[in-house]
Structures are given as C-alpha cells and as structure tokens.
Symmetry: C2
C-alpha cells in the first residue's frame, strides 16, 4: 500500500490579477521564493510520497507542466473545464486506479497555500494517514484558528479519537463575524484547510453512493488523456464538501494542525506573509517609498516605481498590465477581471 | 524697428517628474497636442514676429534645438547654469544686440504656459507694444484673476493710461489666502504672468542702473556661444521682478489680459486643463477606470493601467519610471526629486 498525493491545481487566476492569469493561476506564481507555490507544494509532500498526481485545467497546462517535469514521478491530469472538487476527486480516483492500481491511501492537497512549518504539516498528515489504518472514513486537516476569520469554512469537532485527532460533528460554511467569534471562543472549531485523506475504496464508495450521477459521468469518460469539454462539462459541478463531507455516513475525523497555514486568499493575505520594512511596506522588484507606509508593491519590470505619500496602496506591475487600488479593496480585484470580460479585453485575463 | 521675442525656456523639470527631467523640462513636453509647449509658444508669437530668441539651459539643449530647428529664424542661447531671470534678460539683450542690432522692442515670454485664446493674447501684446511707442518704460501683461490663487504674484494696478492699460502701483509677492481674496475682490489686482515688454535701450539702462554688477558681469562674458559655468555662475542670481520691476523709477504699466491663461504649475494645473470623462478622469495613453473618479493618469507606455476604486489619484508612467500619489499632493512632487538626489538615483532626474 502506498500513499498517493493528489494536488488540486485549479483556480481561475482572478484574485491575483494581473500577476495571475487564466493560464497561470496562483499556484504557478513564485510568490515567496524562486519556486512557484505548486513547486513548494510538491516538495512539501515529497518526504511522504513520491507518487504525486496534479490535477489542473487544460488552460494552465503549460505552466503546470513546467513545474511537474522537474520532479520524477509526478503525473498530471488536465480538466477541459472546471467542475469543482467532487468531479475532480472522482477523476483523480480513476487516474490513480489506472496508474497505481488499487488499495492505496490518498491525500488531496490544494496547490496554492502557504505553509510556514512543513515538518509540522507532514506530522499532521502522518497522523491522519495512521488514523486511516483503523478508521474506514475520511480525514481532514483542520487548522487551529487564531482569529475569527469570516472567509473560511469551519469544522466543528467532537470527541477526541486519539491525541490531536477529533471526530467531526459537522462542517460550517463561511460564518458571519458574530458566529466566527463564537466558533473561535468555543475552542471546538477548526478552519477547513481543504486537505482530505481517505482510502481509494472509501471515497469511491461514498461518491458512488452520494453522487451516483457524478461517479457514473466521470466513469463514462473514455480516455483520461483526452477528456473533452462535452464529456466533462456534462458532469454536475459541486464541491466535495457539499457532495460528500457534509452528507456521508462514514466516520469523518480531523487532525488539528498548527503549521503556519495561510491560503493567501487575496493580495492582503500575501501582504500579511511578506517581510516588511520599518514603515510596513512590502515589496518585490524596484520600488521606492517617499513618506509612504503600509503598501504592497509588486513590480516585475525593471522600471522603478515611486510612491509619494501613499498609504495602504496596492500596486502591481507586470510586463503587460498595471493595477492600482487600495489594499483594503483586496476582495474587489475581481471587479477588474469582470471589467476585462465586459470590455473586450479578455486577452488580459 | 522690429519686435524681438525672447522665450525664456529654463525650468528645472521637477514639478512634472517623471514626465519632465533635467534635460527635458516642462516646455519640451507635448502636454496638449503633438506639439511641445515651446513649439506652441513659438507658433503663438509668430504672427507678431519671426525674430525669436530662445534662452534655455545647456542641459536642455537637445530638446530645445529639436523644436527651434523646425522654425526658420528662431535663434537659441544656452546658459551653462541657471541664474534666474535678471541675468537671463541681460544675456538676451547682448544676444539681440549682436544679431539684430539696436533700436528694437522686446517681448519676454515664458515658454511653458497654456493660453486658450491666442488671438486675445496677441491683442494684449500688441496693445503693450503700442504703449511702448509713447512710454519709455516697462510693460507687463497682467491676467484678470478669476479666483484668489495663492500661488501667483499679483500686480496692483492704478490709473488707466489708455483702454485696457493700467499704471502699475506695485508688485505683490504670492499672498496668503486672506490677502488673495482681498486682492481679487478689490478689482485692482492682476496676476503676474511673467510677460515683460520694453525697448532694448530702456531695459539695458535699468539693469545698468539697478544691478550694475549683473550688467557688468554679463557684459564681460567673452563669447556668447561658449559661456562657461565659471563666467555665468559668478553673476548674481536674482529675478527681474526683484531686480528691476519692483525698484525701477521708469513707468511700469500692465495690459489686462483675458486669454485663458494657465501657467500649468503642477499636475493639478494640468488636470484642470485636460478634457475629462463623465467621472472626471483625465487620461493620456491606455488607461481603464473601474469605479474610479477624478484621476489624472498619463501612461506613455502601451501597457494598460487599471485603477480600481481610486479617486483623485495621480499616476504617471514613462519608459523608465512610474509615480503614484494623490493628486492633492501635486505640490509635493519635488519630494520625490529630492529623494532621487539623496538616494543616488540622480540618473532619473
């Protein structure tokens, strides 16, 4: 029995526009080092397994392959259209069966998160995998919340099954502020980090039982190397959380992790993670601040940018576009991509 | 007797940085059309005279000559260092004497102002020149103020000498807000637009009498085509306003002009003059506004700029630098050029 890592590398590339694009989503950006987030994700899981499958969008094929080809044994699978995580996992199960056969444990990981302490991350994964040896169910990695974030889903934990492992009572959608505060105060909630662990057979059984249409639809695709948009687009789009995690009768457990997790959900999340100067400015590329504080400036060109008396500003300059906004408007960047769609500027998406 | 136009094309190029530079000051920018402000100034005066002398800085020689060479009969003179307007006019008098001989009328004009109605401008100049036929003094063109601007000097007018021509009682430095309001309400004040008219002999006499050191210093320069920094730098730096206009015993008069004058003193002045879209955005180059109002964006590159929810923003992008600031901080752009000087980035000045 082996462990197969499935790295879900989808993403529309909208929240980090103009750095991210439709063909180069967040996981293909080198945000913190010379390596992309996807490469960092691959290297983070490699001490646990070299059997890795990346599932991404056909649009992003070029950038995904650029990373995947640098690592022996890393396989790829490309979706012609996005159908959310339940069909994606069903598809991954077929690909695993074909290449690695049956009887394995699977860990599903997002490709574009930041994890400050990889050792602690792997310890949590190992704990979850060990739990799967005795529990025929689905494991998650929950993140100990340190503030009442309203942008994440929460996991309501119940009985302690073994040290650091909790039975899951239910999954909670993104809460409002008051509920989030209650969750964090109670000590019985973890953030849902989008990491799932299961035996192949368990997830196949659950998908077949809870979403027979998806299981059958994905099962009917004749060639995984040439999936058509018509074939995959006919499959119902739904997340694994909705489709399985919230409905399954199988035991669901969560390992409480504390490994410096951040999903880098927006430019503000990126700003939080970057080192800053004494005035709170975070920078990549040639930038100069004159009486300016708390700015995030990413400049991929060699042309210097000067900020005069600007505070809390977001400035992103790439080879073919430039965005400026208040950093506080980090959730509104999609308004620009919506504008691009409406204005005949889709080439910049 | 001819009319000689002296176009003073100095300027440090700091207020319109990064568009303007030490070697390309405001008058060499094409802010409103395909033509530079200097070219517009030359063409504005040409219906009155083709005898034109441009005085500028040696640093700006290349850009000044690019314009001057396009017009027959336009001569140039370059200062190795800036010594303000009194030495500049003394130098111009020598150059005029050398090339055109004596007995002429001279009109001194800034090179970098915007004038909406050139016909009305020339009418005012003609009125002043006609006045010089009978008055052995110095004329100015005053601008009827339409708001209590604190950034300009004012001319206190007295008796009416002829229709539209007033005796000047005194020159007032840039006033505070309260004084500016009093000035405008009184109806007896004009803005000082930096335009002076005189006979050659009159100004030579006044300079010799009021600033004999300057007159002698400029007179001692051996070769006007090869003025050294040591020769000209030794001359006292002082404005013609201080040196002559405020002290002369000769009659000083002012023609009250109303020709859509604007000295474009800063990015805000430029914004005021540009056409704007319905949301009050003024633009040159490829720029897109998403929920953004009242911005000035100049983009000399072909890379589009996107503003998301920004109001009153200044964004200037050139081939080698980019500036962003609040438009309200238009008077503070020199802080950036000061920063460049301090930070070893003088190449960008």
């Amino acid at each position: 029995m082996a462990v197969i890592a499935v790295i879900m590398a989808g993403g529309s590339g909208k929240r980090f526009w103009p750095l991210s694009r439709e063909n180069r989503a967040k996981q293909s950006l080198a945000l913190f080092s010379e390596k992309t987030l996807l490469a960092e994700t691959i290297e983070r899981i490699m001490p646990l397994t070299r059997d890795i499958l990346i599932v991404s969008s056909i649009k992003q094929r070029e950038h995904i392959l650029a990373d995947a080809r640098r690592y022996d044994g890393v396989r790829t699978l490309f979706e012609p259209v996005g159908r959310n995580t339940a069909p994606c996992i069903a598809l991954a199960l077929r690909a695993i069966e074909r290449h690695w056969g049956g009887g394995h444990q699977v860990v599903v990981l997002p490709a574009d998160h930041h994890i400050a302490r990889p050792d602690d991350f792997r310890t949590a994964i190992r704990t979850a995998l060990a739990t799967l040896d005795t529990v025929d169910g689905i494991g998650t990695i929950g993140i100990r919340p340190d503030h009442p974030e309203t942008g994440y889903g929460y996991i309501n934990t119940g009985d302690i099954l073994r040290p650091g492992v909790f039975a899951v009572k239910r999954f909670e959608e993104k809460p409002d502020r008051a509920r989030a505060e209650t969750f964090v105060k109670s000590g019985n909630y973890l953030w849902n980090g989008g990491i799932f662990l299961f035996r192949q057979a368990t997830m196949a059984r659950e998908l077949a039982a809870l979403t027979p249409d998806i299981f059958a639809g994905v099962g009917a695709i004749p060639d995984l190397d040439a999936i058509t948009a018509a074939q995959y687009g006919a499959v119902r789009s739904i997340s694994i959380d909705y489709a399985v995690m919230e409905k399954t009768a199988a035991p669901v457990f969560s390992v409480a992790g504390d490994f410096g997790w951040n999903d880098i959900g927006s430019w503000a999340g990126y700003y939080d993670l970057l080192p800053k100067d004494a005035a709170g400015n975070a920078v990549r590329g040639p930038v100069h601040f004159v009486e300016s504080t708390g700015n995030l400036v990413v400049n991929l060109t060699d042309r210097p940018i000067f900020l005069l008396r600007k505070n809390g500003q977001l400035v992103i300059v790439t080879g073919d576009a430039m965005l400026t906004a208040d950093l506080a408007d980090h959730q509104e960047v999609r308004r620009v991509t919506e504008y691009l769609e409406k204005s005949g500027l889709a080439a910049l998406l």
